[in-house]
Amino acid sequence: MTDIPFPQRHLLGVEDLAPEAILQLLDRADGYVEMNREARKKRDILKGLTQINLFFESSTRTQMSFELAGKRLGADVMNMPVKSSSLSKGETLIDTAMTLNAMRPDLLVVRHADSGAVNLLAQKVNCAVVNAGDGRREHPTQALLDALTIRRRKGRLHRLNVAICGDILHSRVARSNMWLLGKLENRIRVIAPPTLLPTGIERFGVEVFEDMEQGLEGCDVVMMLRLQLERMSGAFVPSVREYFHRYGLNAEKLARAKEDVIVMHPGPMNRGVEIDSELADDINRSVIQEQVEMGVAVRMAVLETLAERLPNWRGAGALA
């Protein structure tokens, strides 16, 4: 594969990526989708490299996805158990970063509950850092896997009407998707009650709808977001049932979208809160399982791309 225009050492967000870089990451991921469907999935592209998954905020699926991605490329993958480690004994983020750095990992996959925490950590280490979600800010691999899913289903990744629905305010998935889809010239709508929208959202280059049916009119893609339990009753929305009534996706509301609309969700789903259970399982429309599959492929592409940018990289499969 030719050298892709990817000047970054780390993947901290899609906001920093050029559209060409995004497309080439997706091309590369496409190849891995096919590979992952073979019986023998393991390659030795990252053989000898060490990947550490550092999840300060627990997440089963993202962590597993990164672990599988690293292992399928032959890296030695280690999960750092944050809960039982010294981090819960008051060690600071930077001290942890320095300690890990001294063990000379090549790839560090980090999730943290604070916006900007991964950027901070990336300044202090020599290895490549992948942001697996920081606070409300970015979740780049989620946006990339969503893009890959859309491109494979729709055959293109531009001039689509994409609706993002739900808790936009607290969502890094929403932000990353808005940047990525915006860069590739799609029409983005956000659908949410005003209490769950960030200030100045109109100036993000998106159309804002408080009425879900209006917002879904003519959409090619609907992305649902998870509503966190603690935000459901009274604080941001009056109740679960009122939320589902106004902003839950069901067949009736979805009928306003295009006939070949696809429904996405980053998981885990709250059935009956943001999405109707039957709809979630409708294989003609729901691509939720496919998103999970694309996730592994996209993360393989990201890990490989960053590994190639390592200063001590000596080519695929070279023994370190």
């Binding site: 983020l93 930077i94 604070d114 916006s115 409300r136 970015e138 200030t199 100045g200 100036r203």
Partner: protein, 430 residues
């Protein structure tokens, strides 16, 4: 001590609206004996006086800074009275007014006396504490105002906390009026601003930081102004930073209410974009504002609506700043950069030097009844000699403060202090 004749100076005196070439005589008692154009030449002073050639640089009153944090008691590793004195002298600040946000807070006359004693022993510049307005700065019960003032407190404030209960605020103001004290307030609606570490805006939304709306400031100020009308207390907004609050301040002043306000250097010199890639040194309270608000504040300073310019010097150690933005401590050191930040307004030709020094020295001194902040004959010899145009780059490691958390790190500044006198004694020379 012989008298000192500083000649060939550019005299800046806000009390006389003076900006002219001349000279100044510091008397044997550490007070200003005389000053004026007639003392410009070396031989024009009293016979036998020591001579100092100012080289044409500005000779002005030392700064009176109404908003400084010191770590004593409780956090001496962040800043002691010794280190804050070094920093202040180097920054041209000859009087610091210290916030009561210490551990424990300065809500007890004995603590105020302790701080006064520590300052007298080791601090190079004058240091006056403000005392807490409520016990423990908890916003519930009034502290002992009269005892605190008698112990040496110069004003009352709960520091960076708003007294959220209007009933408590009202009583504090009523009682403070009866002892004649200036009350200083943190004008942020505490509920609305509680979670925010950035101003609600497009930029903060993109960064995904917990936000607080700029309106939290004017809401708090407007509530308080009603209480000032009810009580007649002397009210000072500790930091004002938004266009809406400036409008409210203007209206209150036009009405003739006993209201005044300070602006912090970082609020008129920096805006939210300086946070950039989550620079926690730029995490201050209230947070840096959108450009429109910063510009409005700069304009208010230029036209003299603001009474005092402060550094809001708040030392924080590396530990408390090297954290994810939302968790990092708030505050920036500023004693060594506040003069240059203010001079920038002069270099931008927005304001003349006497008017600028009015806010840097004279007006804050008047608010607290100090006789410093002016070059009037008889006033204490708190002077600074400033090379107004000297260019320099802020290097946080080179700061004299114990803490190096400067929001101005790496910025290009113009204006350096050449020498500082406190009470006629030379305490700093560069």
């Amino acid at each position: 001590m012989k008298p000192l004749h500083i000649h060939h100076a550019r005299l800046i005196d806000p009390a006389a609206d003076l900006d002219a070439e001349g000279g100044l005589i510091l008397g044997e008692d550490g007070r200003i004996l005389d000053r004026g154009p007639h003392l410009r030449e070396a031989g024009s002073g009293p016979e036998g006086a020591d001579l100092r050639d100012a080289g044409g640089h500005a000779l002005a009153p030392g700064l009176v800074d109404l908003r400084v944090y010191v770590g004593e008691p409780g956090a001496r590793h962040k800043e002691s009275y010794r280190s804050v004195g070094e920093a202040a002298a180097a920054g041209g600040v000859t009087t610091i007014v210290v916030q009561p946000d210490t551990d424990p807070p300065l809500d007890d006359p004995a603590l105020v006396a302790f701080v006064r004693r520590r300052a007298a022993e080791v601090c190079k510049v004058r240091a006056h504490p403000m005392a807490a307005m409520t016990k423990g700065r908890a916003g519930r019960e009034m502290a002992e105002y009269k005892f605190l003032l008698d112990a040496g407190a110069v004003a009352l404030t709960d520091g960076d906390r708003q007294i959220s209960d209007p009933v408590v605020t009202r009583r504090c103001l009523q009682y403070a009026r009866s002892v004649g004290a200036l009350t200083v307030h943190h004008i942020q609606d505490s509920a609305l601003a509680a979670q925010g570490c950035a101003t609600e805006s497009l930029f903060a939304g993109k960064l995904g930081l917990p936000e607080a709306p700029a309106a939290a400031e004017v809401m708090a100020l407007e509530r308080d102004l009603r209480l000032v009308e009810l009580t007649g207390a002397r009210y000072h907004a500790g930091q004002i930073s938004t266009a809406a609050a400036l409008e409210a301040l203007r209206r209150a002043k036009e009405k003739g209410l006993p209201v005044s306000a300070s602006a912090s250097a970082h609020h008129y010199a920096l805006n939210e974009y300086d946070i950039g890639d989550f620079r926690s040194f730029c995490k201050v309270s209230p947070p840096l504002r959108e450009e429109a608000d910063r510009a409005a504040l700069e304009e208010a300073v230029a036209e003299g609506l603001i009474d005092a310019l402060t550094s809001s010097h708040r030392p924080q150690d590396e530990e408390s700043k090297r954290l994810p933005y939302a968790q990092a401590a708030t505050g920036s050191v500023g004693l060594e950069t506040s003069l240059a930040a203010a001079l920038n307004l002069h270099h931008k030709e927005l304001i003349g030097l006497p008017a600028l020094w009015r806010m840097l020295a004279l007006r804050p001194a008047e608010l607290l009844g100090f006789e410093t902040g002016r070059l009037t004959p008889g006033a204490p010899g708190d002077l600074i000699l400033v090379d107004l145009g000297a260019p320099w780059i802020v290097d946080r490691k080179a700061l004299r403060s114990k803490s190096k958390n400067s929001a101005f790190h790496d910025r290009r500044m113009q204006g350096l202090v050449k020498a500082t006198w406190v009470g006629g004694a030379l305490v700093f020379e560069r």
